[in-house]
């Protein structure tokens, strides 16, 4: 049984809901103004210059090309240091492994650091079904967990919540007098979470990046919560997408610095932990057991397809969310899965089904802001175009049938017209005549188009086709000039 919820089919509907929410718009607009512009500036200020993003891309590509070797080396080092490594082919295997540990150790309470891959595999509900209470310890994640919601941003999961909503939530769940004062709210969360940290038997985290050479993983946070979650409980289970690795420590440092700039316009996160195994004899803290769960869950398919392998370079810094004009209007929930924004538009269909994620592939403007913002210089628009080609032309490897029906016929008609200039011109002429039947403004712009074009005129007038297109005017003029 899987608790994974995929709601990519509801993109249009959920987008409409996001657009209609003025609070969300204000929050996202503030976020994008602060972080979107700030990140571009942070790249410019890099000591190595903004070209470091291209260097990072090459590092990541090389790591992806040698993934098997690097993961093996990482696993060997961690095992040498007394840790366990589990390679999970599916979400079910990953959560099953974690549930097994919890059962063996009698874990009742787990504290968790923010991790998108555990959202992807729906770890929390799966553990809950095994009688384990999982408490999110990142403040934003904690808020939305109390609200029973899902993250709407990869780094700022509760960006859609207002201070008033949080005040209500905390008054209801933490038993404090209602307040909208951020320090008081933060303090209340901190006190509640400290109790959980001390009582928990299991700490769960994601992995921002792993290094094969040294055999360690890193977690980055600004609240210190991940460090507590990974050191206080007796067992630490870390989940990583199988692509989150680089070969060497010098490369690692470059990726980490870009991650922090892309994610939060910081030179480096406040807390960066390097973890390579459980507590060793003589060490004063750390867990008794350390488990690393390396999650495939569809990533091998991306690895096998040269068109989408580049997506595995992504480190989920969320810089693309902070510049995407579409994300900035519709919000993260519209994307119907753990990953939102431009990264979600590409990776979600690849992980959960291209056909059902159709609107994610098509519902973007290809404006390219994401590519410029990407800390790893990933060409997301290129992959959106590839996904669209799969939707149109079909791809048995991805289980997609060629599109059919009216849309295909329309493009065939278009192909016929652009191949025959005389016919093309007659079609324009016909348009110029037929448009007179439509409701128009005094200036001649069209007020209402029939379906399937009616979407345009819901909010915009449509320009009239010129009585005489340019090419005809030009030819006429030339003829007159020749006549002299």
């Amino acid at each position: 049984m899987s608790a994974i919820r995929i709601r990519t089919e509801r993109y249009v509907e959920e987008a409409r809901r996001g657009i209609a929410d003025p609070v969300l718009r204000r929050a996202l607009s503030g976020l994008q103004e602060r972080f979107g512009r700030g990140t571009a500036e942070a790249y410019r200020r890099l000591p190595e210059g903004p070209g470091l993003r291209q260097t990072a891309h090459a590092i990541r590509e090389k790591a992806i090309a040698h993934l098997d070797i690097l993961l093996e080396r990482l696993a060997r080092r961690i095992r040498e240091n007394g840790g366990e490594v589990f390679f999970a082919a599916t979400a079910e295997e990953a959560v099953g492994y974690c549930a097994g540990i919890a059962r063996r150790l009698g874990v009742k309470l787990a504290v968790k650091g923010k991790s998108m891959v555990t959202e992807e595999i729906a770890l929390n509900p799966a553990l809950a079904a095994h009688g384990v209470e999982v408490v999110e310890t990142d403040l934003g994640e904690y808020i939305i967990q109390l609200a029973g919601e899902t993250p709407s941003h990869i780094i700022a999961p509760a960006i859609h919540k207002t201070r008033n909503e949080i005040a209500d939530l905390f008054a209801q769940h933490l038993g404090i007098p209602r307040t909208t004062d951020p320090p008081r709210l933060t303090h209340a969360a901190r006190r509640a979470l400290r109790e959980k940290f001390l009582a928990a038997d299991m700490g769960i985290s994601g992995v921002n990046l792993a290094c094969a050479e040294t055999g360690h993983i890193s977690t980055v946070s600004n609240e210190g919560n991940i460090r507590m979650a990974t050191t206080l409980p007796r067992v630490h289970v870390a989940f990583m997408g199988m692509e989150r690795i680089v070969a060497r420590l010098d490369e690692y440092e470059i990726i980490l610095r870009l991650l922090c700039r892309g994610a939060s316009v910081q030179d480096i996160g406040t807390y960066v932990s390097f973890i390579g195994g459980p507590r060793r004899p003589g060490e004063s803290d750390g867990p008794e057991e350390f488990h690393l769960v390396v999650v495939d869950n569809g990533r091998s398919r991306m690895l096998a397809d040269p068109r989408f392998r580049e997506m595995l370079c992504c480190i989920r810094c969320a810089a693309c969310l902070n510049v995407c004009p579409v994300y900035g209007r519709i919000g993260g929930h519209a994307y119907g899965f753990a990953y939102s924004g431009p990264v979600g538009a590409v990776v979600t269909p690849l992980l959960t089904g291209i056909r059902r994620g159709r609107d994610l592939c098509l519902g973007e403007t290809l404006c390219g802001a994401c590519k410029d913002a990407c800390s790893m210089d990933i060409d997301l628009p290129r992959m959106l175009l590839e996904l669209r080609a799969i939707l149109a032309e079909g791809d048995p490897g991805w289980g997609v049938e060629p599109s059919g029906g009216l849309e295909r016929q329309a493009w065939k008609l278009w192909e016929g017209l652009v191949s025959r200039p005389a016919l093309y011109e007659r079609a324009l002429q016909a348009g110029a005549v037929l448009q007179r039947l439509l409701p128009r403004t005094p200036a001649g712009w069209i007020r209402r188009l029939p379906p399937p074009f009616s979407g345009w005129t819901k909010s915009r007038d449509f320009p009239p086709v010129a009585a005489e297109p340019f090419r005809r005017r030009f030819a006429k003029r030339r003829k007159e000039a020749d006549r002299g």
Binding site: V12, A15, R16, I19, P325, V326, R329, I330, D359, L362, G363, E364, T365, L366, C367, G368, A369, K371, D372, L385, L387, R388, A389, I390, L391, A392, E393, R408, W411, W414, E415, L417, V418, S419, P421, Y424, G431, T441, A443, W445, P452, F453, G455, W456, K458, S459, R460, D461, F462, P463, P464, V465, A466, E468, P469, F470, R471, R473, F474, A475
Partner: protein, 241 residues
């Protein structure tokens, strides 16, 4: 006399022929002969963006046949040039001869403002256009081709023209071709903000170098009843025709 071969975007041909005429006027004013293949229709971009690559290839092949011999191809649209420069060669990955032709053609295809400023080295065209205008950075022009300063330089040299920057001039207007029709709510949310930023700038006209965006923005401006005009930069450089 030097010749410029004009590749006219299909939207401009059909919806705003006067902008294409302005392009011709600009070049003729500079003493260039303008050649414009009469058989041209479309480079294939709409089909390509929709994922219909076979159909796009048909159009691209025609484009290459018609323009392959030209010395310099100039096109008043960033997105069409981005298509020719970046995507058409890739469409022929499996066909070496076509690919070679596509690469050669791409290297000789220039966007209008880029051609004027970077190739011809001209920024003062002697144009005059009284009024306050703001410039919209079209996505494929700005991020696809890296053209940001060229149109601004040209505008700054126009007599009587005051160039004011709007907020977020580089933010997408929400056109996106078929996107504007298929996802009208998202597209509308984007253009609504763009219109607001244009209004805030106090400009009497918004100027751009991609007609798709301009028609979209103008459609929204008109529906709102705002008297701001949307002009292709060639229309301004030709003296406000």
């Amino acid at each position: 006399m030097d010749t410029v071969t004009l590749f006219v975007p299909c939207l401009m041909d059909a919806f705003r022929p006067e902008a294409a005429e302005a392009v011709v006027a600009v070049f003729e004013g500079l003493g260039y002969a303008v050649h414009c293949p009469a058989e041209q229709t479309c480079c294939g971009q709409p089909a390509f963006n929709a994922g219909y690559r076979n159909e796009a290839r048909t159009a691209a092949r025609r484009f290459l046949r018609l323009f392959g011999d030209a010395e310099a191809i100039c096109c008043p649209s960033g997105s069409c040039v981005a298509m020719v420069r970046h995507h058409v060669p890739a469409l022929f990955d499996g066909e070496p001869d076509w690919r070679a032709l596509a690469v050669r053609t791409a290297a000789r295809t220039f966007e209008f403002t880029e051609y004027l400023v970077d190739v011809l080295g001209r920024d003062d065209l002697g144009a005059s256009f009284p009024g306050r205008v703001t410039y919209h950075d079209s996505c494929h022009l700005l991020r696809g081709l890296g053209i940001r300063e060229q149109p601004r330089r040209l505008l700054r040299r126009v007599r009587g023209l005051e160039l004011v920057e709007m907020k977020n001039s580089d933010c997408c207007c929400g056109f996106g071709g078929a996107f504007s029709v298929k996802y009208p709510d998202i597209s509308t949310a984007l253009v609504a903000d763009k219109v607001e930023w244009i209004r805030e700038s106090g400009a009497e006209a918004v100027v751009g170098a991609d007609l798709g965006c301009l028609l979209h923005i103008e459609g929204a401006l008109r529906r709102k009843g705002l008297g701001v005009r949307a002009l292709h930069i060639a229309q301004v450089l030709a003296g406000g025709r």
